[in-house]
Symmetry: C2
Subunit: 242 residues, 2 copies
């Protein structure tokens, strides 16, 4: 079973508010349609979720009790998710939506709980669950953002994934010269080029991605759209993490 | 804590496809906005979910593995849910959506599992979760319909509700003369007028409602929009069941 994330930078025009990247989404959906085997998809927020989150000052740790903020972020992500699911269903991929706000939550310490009974049963019935970055209820903080990367890690653990793939707008983890690093076995390998754990992107950035993926027992590959078909065919394009 | 269901016949124009009953929804939202205290809302499908379910031949027991059927029913219900949530948020009710497809499922025997961690945490953070009739994955059957009434029973049990209210388009359980029965303590009391357990409405009908509500420890009231404010104020309009 594969957990595959399509980054927000792949499925949306990041510079154009609430705009689906039609051609890129079509390419990604074509690759997924050509694949046989169990698959769970996650996509990021790109130009749908992020502007709403920023406007309301909501991050993975800064919460909100304003239902307008919650429904603003969530509504935009539902719309993007519907577009992703529709692109897949058009190609006869049995994709069905799973909205994290309905099923995931954080405890007071910020630890994410994502019960996998529903996506597990969906896989068992032949469906392809499609999750997304979202806002989730957070004990003592109202609601905070959950990133697609966090969901990937939780799904890979909970569903005991065989492989994890992250398709973003870069061909892998890049070294100082801009070349793709073939393998990252420990964070120290790339700490210099990734600039430590800090990142302006509250829901991830490459440093946070690498740290989280290293904690997984399952190996993970980071690649771009050019590498997606190869990854789904069993290859290891881009950077192998772990 | 109150679990309140707004029937599909209240929030939609049943005879007009995918049409929100604007005036009725506004009245219901006004009554909810005037209420203080913990509340979980559920709404039915009316002219949104039912036509899609019928077209694809999906019921609470007849499943589908067609993602077009799943996303057709679910997408229509997401749209209705967004309208209900928006009407509440406009009135400063901190309403947030919870989509059953993402969190509930049925086992091979058809038994519904609805984990209540998320709605419970939402209540704890001051939000009003708003669920809806939907399609859910069903082990061995693909996906089947879950009715708003089933969700009401599962939520009342799981969250240990103090009161349960069902607001529909009739003022209560009616006797042979068309008058409201004040109390139903056992199904036999009304078996004659309700015509047994059979019903043309696959997701409920009054007989199925009464049977399910009688199984709850929590007393339930069945009333129409004229009784909603009184119910939320602690009154018992319409028919008391249990």
């Amino acid at each position: 079973m594969i957990v595959l994330k399509l980054g927000g930078s792949v499925v949306t025009e990041k510079s154009s508010r609430e705009t689906v990247a039609g051609a890129e989404l079509a390419r990604a959906a074509d690759a997924v349609a050509d694949h046989d085997g169990e698959l769970v998809l996650v996509h990021g927020g790109g130009s749908f979720g992020h502007p709403h989150a920023e406007r309301h000052g909501v991050t993975t740790t800064e919460g909100t009790r304003d239902a307008r903020a919650v429904t603003g972020v969530h509504g935009a992500m539902e719309e993007l998710n519907a577009a992703v699911v529709a692109a897949l269903v058009e190609r006869d991929v049995p994709a069905v939506p799973v909205h994290p706000l309905s099923v995931a939550s954080r405890d007071a310490a910020g630890s994410l709980s994502l019960p996998v009974e529903v996506p597990g049963r969906m896989l068992g019935e032949g469906f392809v669950p499609v999750l997304h970055g979202d806002v989730v209820v957070h004990e003592g903080h109202g609601a905070t953002i959950v990133s697609g990367d966090e969901l990937v890690v939780a799904l890979a653990r909970g569903l005991d994934a065989d492989r994890v793939g992250l398709c973003s707008d870069v061909p892998g983890v890049l070294d100082g010269a801009g070349d793709v690093v073939e393998r990252v076995a420990a964070f120290e390998d790339v700490a210099d080029v990734l600039g430590g754990s800090g990142s302006a992107d509250v829901t991830g950035g490459m440093a946070a991605k690498v740290r989280e993926l290293l904690e997984l027992e399952t190996p993970a590959d980071v690649f771009d759209l050019d590498g997606l078909a190869s990854f789904l065919d069993g290859g290891s394009p881009g950077t192998r993490i772990g």
